[in-house]
Symmetry: C2
Subunit: 234 residues, 2 copies
Amino acid sequence: QIADAVEAWFDAHADGRLTGRHVLVTAGPTHEPLDPVRYIANRSSGKQGYAIARALARMGAKVTLVTGPTGLTPPAGVDTVKVETARQMLAACEAALPADCAVCCAAVADYRPQIETEHKIKKERGGLSTIALSENPDILRTLSNHETSRPKLVIGFAAETDDVIGHADAKRKRKGCDWIVANDVSPGTGTMGGDNNTVTILSEEGEEAWDNMPKAAVAGRLAEKIADALLGKK
Amino acid sequence: QIADAVEAWFDAHADGRLTGRHVLVTAGPTHEPLDPVRYIANRSSGKQGYAIARALARMGAKVTLVTGPTGLTPPAGVDTVKVETARQMLAACEAALPADCAVCCAAVADYRPQIETEHKIKKERGGLSTIALSENPDILRTLSNHETSRPKLVIGFAAETDDVIGHADAKRKRKGCDWIVANDVSPGTGTMGGDNNTVTILSEEGEEAWDNMPKAAVAGRLAEKIADALLGKK
């Protein structure tokens, strides 16, 4: 209900500042299959990324939302591309370029099972004692360092459980993105799967801590900040 | 829409044959955490198990639904216990005993990561090359061989991708349950996450292949068959 009221407020106050701009948004988890029934995943409800896609579309942007498996309904007026794995997500992102801005909100699995078997692995045939892993492609780093089509503004997210700001700032430098939206997803914060979020925006200029607010409000404020960065302040 | 029509038909034709009986139903996947953001899971939408819980409640049974994480709304009139891991699911099932019947529809992860870390594992601190696994408790086998409170009728599900009947029949004997509901979840069947199912019921008496039908219809027919087994045919 609060989320709906926030959305309604933003709908009423929308302008078309981002008309003609293309923004790529990634959302949700990725699922990395081990066999037809088992997979490794990262936790993500997709709520924050979907809210960002909606907020950007409301401001007139053409939005491509590349999303892993979620239980959410894609926002109206957004080009939604559904994927499952990190490799599929990267391919869909690269296919969506060029973009003026990329917002990498998805909780991409860093690793996938080295081997995906075609048939269900049977426990009684020896089963599994370990899963060997391969590193997945790094979508944020790839977009941040794209040789031909780097978006002008690349934004990453850092979901951390300890030393949130330290880890997030290191992540920004390591990946080569412009901003990192850092949030604490420790059990007990209620951020994971919840409707609210407490974020800090880290950039070369320093850090900007936002109060706890609905994910729709984080999305609206972030969309305004993106428009300021792409177009200059209102 | 078809599912709603099927449910409406069953609602209209319900009787109270299972009044006074307690049925335990498990549904959904389990999630086995590796750290606060990563987990191993089995695919399961929970739709078939929720439909079975609903069908049994409609026939007057007291139903305890022990469910892993799903995007579904628990059916009205059912005692729903939400769990995440296989160990939690087993504990919730044992706490729900005694029951006249147990329907083990959940896609329980056979394995869990041997170690669950409190903080997010950082890729740049060496990361992960393998996940060591431990075997999870076997809920179907535990209920089928329960020393003090074995339900009179224990029903397992077998989601298979090859030699469906052979694997399912071997599973019935190995676990010690009374019936196995076997279904083919190969990619391409549309069963996984879909609204329809094609099942074969295996018991000591032999096998009974049902046509492809909505999961709600599979649930209604299975609930009738459970009532017949507990109470004698109408």
